[in-house]
């Protein structure tokens, strides 16, 4: 775990919803700061208490986490996709009229919040800015919530498909340089537009055309950013961490994602299995029996029964096999994660594992 933070400039925390990704990302940031790093943790939609702990509850810019006493320095920032997307467009658009036309487009208004891939794109563009700014030794990125860990990686490709300049050109009616394929392309564009007009009425298609003509100006920048972000993700100084919980479905999904990452050339360094079992889970049946007897000695027959049932379950779960080579199982913390001290405890525990 120390080497993960020591040897990399970017750590990307992936995993499906509800596995404690954001908290773990923050704890990794704390661990790096304790090691003397100047580190930025980028989170998306953190829980209020975590946001308060990190000092980013009401801040749009990156902030130095308050009340820290680390060898290094811990910074935190949130990713607000609609705002970052808007900033991105303002920064890259050539004139004010394009910006206004885009912001007033109904489709854009839906897109900036729900466009599949836009959350991931804004996260990546922010990551890219932070990692290349020279301000930090390490950037820890908490990826957007998604049903599946792999969604994060597919998102840029999906977004690229949207902004692919060939497609935009075709919608714009520009067909230079496409040669023989032109006629076939033109026909299929007509087919799609025809179907859309039938389904949606013509106003939708007009909105769509407007959107594309406005976005056309910044499409090359979006592509360029996506490509640079992709290169950064593939860089050997970027490590992926998969965070999972200990149940059969999540583990299966994690294993599929593991394979997918390796095949695509990304560097998946560690799998963290969060809240794998409660602290009190006995090591073996002997310990279990002794605790059970202790409860009975206190006249707590009902609790002893519950203890037997639960410890049996957690012990069984603990022995679930996984295919992961480098896996860290983190027991559930014995208290609620409130404040920086609790994050430090979690960080210390993470660093002490494996």
């Amino acid at each position: 775990m120390r080497r993960l933070l020591q040897d990399h400039r970017v750590v990307v925390c992936t995993g499906s919803g509800g596995v404690g990704k954001t908290t773990t990302s923050a704890a990794l940031g704390v661990a790096a700061a304790r090691m003397g790093k100047r580190v930025l943790v980028l989170t998306i939609d953190p829980a209020r208490r975590l946001a308060t702990t990190l000092g980013i509850a009401n801040s749009a810019t990156d902030v130095r986490v308050p009340r820290q006493k680390f060898r290094g320095e811990l910074w935190a920032g949130t990713i607000d996709p609609p705002r970052i997307f808007a900033e991105y467009i303002e920064r890259h658009a050539k004139d004010r009229a394009t910006v206004d036309r885009l912001f007033n487009n109904t489709l854009y208004q839906q897109l900036s919040t729900t466009l599949s891939g836009s959350q991931e794109f804004t996260a990546l563009s922010k990551l890219l800015d932070a990692a290349t700014s020279g301000d930090y030794d390490l950037v820890v990125l908490d990826t957007p919530p998604s049903a599946h860990a792999a969604d994060f990686l597919r998102a840029p490709a999906r977004l690229n498909a949207v902004f692919d300049s060939t497609i935009v050109s075709l919608f714009m009616g520009r067909t230079t340089g496409l040669g023989l394929a032109t006629m076939a392309w033109k026909r299929s564009v007509k087919l799609v537009l025809g179907a859309l007009t039938l389904l949606t009425g013509s106003s939708f298609v007009t909105t769509f055309n407007d959107f594309f003509s406005a976005i056309d100006a910044i499409a090359p920048d979006i592509r360029e950013t996506s490509l640079r972000a992709h290169a950064l993700l593939l860089d050997p100084t970027t490590a992926f961490v998969l965070i999972s919980s200990l149940d059969a479905a999540k583990i299966q999904e994690g294993q599929d994602f593991h394979t997918e990452l390796s095949c695509a050339g990304y560097h998946l360094k560690t799998v963290i299995i969060n809240r794998a079992w409660p602290q009190w889970t006995p090591e073996d049946n002997g310990a279990k029996d002794r605790t059970c007897k202790a409860l009975l000695a206190q006249d707590q027959a009902a609790l002893a029964g519950l203890y037997n049932q639960l410890s049996g379950f957690y012990m069984e779960r603990r022995s679930l096999p996984t295919r992961f080579a480098d896996v860290v199982m983190v027991p559930e913390m014995e208290e609620d994660l409130i404040g920086l001290e609790a994050l430090e405890k979690l960080a210390a525990r993470l660093m002490s594992m494996a």
Binding site: S16, G17, V19, A47, R49, T106, L107, Q110, L111, L115, S116, G117, P145, A147, R158, L159, A161, V162, I167, L170, F171, S188, V189, L191, V192, A195, T197, L198, L199, T200, G201, S202, S203, F204, T207, F208, S245, A248, A249, Q252, P278, Q279, W280, R290, T291, A294, L295, Q298, Q300, A302, L303, L306, Y307, L310, G312, F313, E316, R317, E334, D336
Partner: protein
């Protein structure tokens, strides 16, 4: 498919829509990791026990139930238990079905769907994808010729944010597409989603701070969007006595008892927060137990028993 004989056990009456008897729809949602899919499957089993014919639908490109239950789950429903079939609907297969109904030539629909531009478009306008999924769920209510021989469709829907996007999609699209079949489709879907005789919303949560906060927010969101108060299911509850002993720190069992005391406090606070929502804003809260087994089948049966018991209490 020929209509099957009506089940003999007492079953809720099939709702009427447009002069026809149609199936009901139960959407199951919640924060990621709260056991939403398991509760959806148990809901399907519970309804099958009442003699209803159930289609359990999962949304998305990957199957959760397939690996869990050892089935090959795809766009066409596969049988799981007596009275229950499971299908997985993704955007592409739903859009294909949807377009196929509107375009006279199936060939044209195929051609359009295989078109790169169409793929880019579906990616660009996500409401289109959501409309296709909802349109498929509601197809029997929308079209007299669409047959689906079940009494209820249980949808293992998306988690919080994505689910709200799904609910809001028809309204948003009705604004974007001001006329045409997609406009009327969107308006029709909005109406169906607000029809308490047809749609039921089940919101799953855990008695932990974050899931509870998200559930409260979401209950309000579902109510605001549809006018229907969701039923709330507090999952993985432990049956703990009101009074738990304080053991000396040296006692072997002290860590376990301290953990139970913490959980009891969380459960108490969580239920209080859900109760504070009020019955008008969220339906009665149903407690579901933590089922301590790794056996998926046994776990689902136990959850179904708990749903049955809760239904008996509230009836």
């Amino acid at each position: 498919m020929a209509a099957k004989k009506r089940p003999t056990q007492e079953t809720p009456a099939r709702p009427q829509h447009g002069g026809r008897s149609v199936h009901r729809v139960v959407f199951v949602t919640g924060k990621g990791g709260v056991g939403k899919s398991a509760v959806a499957a148990a809901t399907a089993l519970q309804m099958a026990r009442q003699g209803q014919r159930v289609l359990l639908v999962e949304l998305g490109s990957r199957s959760f139930y397939g690996p869990l239950l050892g089935l090959q789950v795809g766009s066409d429903a596969v049988p799981w238990r007596p009275g229950v079939t499971i299908a997985r609907w993704d955007v592409e297969s739903s859009l294909r079905e949807y377009l196929g109904h509107y375009l006279v030539f199936k060939l044209a629909a195929e051609k359009i769907l295989n078109n790169t531009i169409m793929k880019a478009l579906v990616a660009a306008a996500p409401s289109l994808a959501e409309l296709a999924l909802l349109g498929r769920v509601m197809a029997p209510m929308r079209h007299a010729w669409y047959r689906r021989d079940v009494d209820v469709v249980v949808v293992d829907a998306y988690a919080t944010g994505q689910f709200m996007a799904l609910l809001r999609a028809p309204r948003g699209l009705a604004q974007t597409a001001a006329s045409g079949p997609m406009h009327s489709q969107s308006v029709g879907l909005t109406r169906l989603l607000s029809d308490a005789a047809i749609c039921e919303y089940r919101l799953v949560t855990l008695a932990e701070e974050l899931p509870i906060a998200e559930a409260c927010e979401m209950a309000a969101g579902i109510l605001a969007e549809t006018g229907v108060a969701p039923r709330v299911y507090c999952n993985r509850m432990l049956d703990l006595a009101a009074w738990l002993p304080a053991l000396p720190a040296t006692d072997l069992a002290a860590p376990f008892v301290a953990a139970m005391v913490r959980i009891a406090a969380h459960q108490h606070e969580g239920l209080a927060a859900l109760d504070a929502l009020g019955r008008s804003r969220a339906g009665p809260v149903c407690r579901l137990p933590l089922v301590p087994t790794l056996d998926a089948g046994a776990m689902l049966e136990a959850l179904t028993d708990a749903l049955d018991a809760a239904a008996g209490v509230s009836a």
